[in-house]
């Protein structure tokens, strides 16, 4: 009986962890609206207002999360410093980052991987 309880507990924990890692598309859309990401990256996240800004629609989810974390690290090792993005990522929790990445990844995009 004890073993069974442990297995159930472990399964629940695993489910919780993987749910967090996956990110929530609906929550991500709400965050993207709240922080007005579209005002630079474009309403469809594929037509940024300036060509020096990246297209985000359909980009790999874990890369998007990584990029947001690099702005959080800022000037520290493996960080990125950027006047706009440094301010934008400040209020974001790790869960927010996963949700935003899941949402942006879910959008139809035109990015490609070729040799």
């Amino acid at each position: 009986m004890k073993t069974q309880q442990w297995i159930i507990a472990a399964a629940c924990l695993l489910a919780a962890v993987s749910a967090q890692a996956a990110g929530n598309v609906t929550a991500g859309k709400a965050l993207a609206d709240k922080y007005a990401c579209f005002s630079c990256h474009g309403k469809d996240f594929n037509t940024p207002i300036d060509p020096s800004y990246p297209k985000l629609a359909g980009q790999h989810k874990d890369y998007l999360a990584h990029a947001l974390k690099t702005y959080k690290r800022g000037d520290a090792a493996n960080g990125r410093s950027n006047g706009i993005m440094t301010a934008q990522v400040k209020p974001l929790s790790d869960q927010d980052i996963q949700d935003l990445a899941a949402y942006l990844h879910s959008l139809p995009g035109t990015l490609a991987t070729h040799r």
């Binding site: 940024p48 060509p51 800004y53 297209k55 790999h60 890369y63």
Partner: protein, 112 residues
Amino acid sequence: MKKLTALLVLAGLAQVAVAAEVVGNAQNAKAKIEMCIGCHGIPGYKATFPEVFPVPMIGGQSAKYIESALQAYKKGERKHPSMKGIASSLSDQDIADVAAFYAQQTRTGEAK
């Protein structure tokens, strides 16, 4: 009068500087992308530090964004160690050529 002439000469120099802005050439990039394709040309290729993540899709990004990202690695505004090493080895012309090359890629099209 001398001041005016000096101003005109300066204005002329500024014009030349603007005209000499680096223009990327996708055809010239062919010999410069070996370092890129080892990671960005392999579907599903992952970097593992400090997070595990698939390297970004760069085909179809605008040339200006790719240029600004590479310049940011070169200047140290972006601190990814391997990208800093690669970007630092590229001239401004190399960066413009590589950016032009990846900007012309499409999701369905073959690399040109």
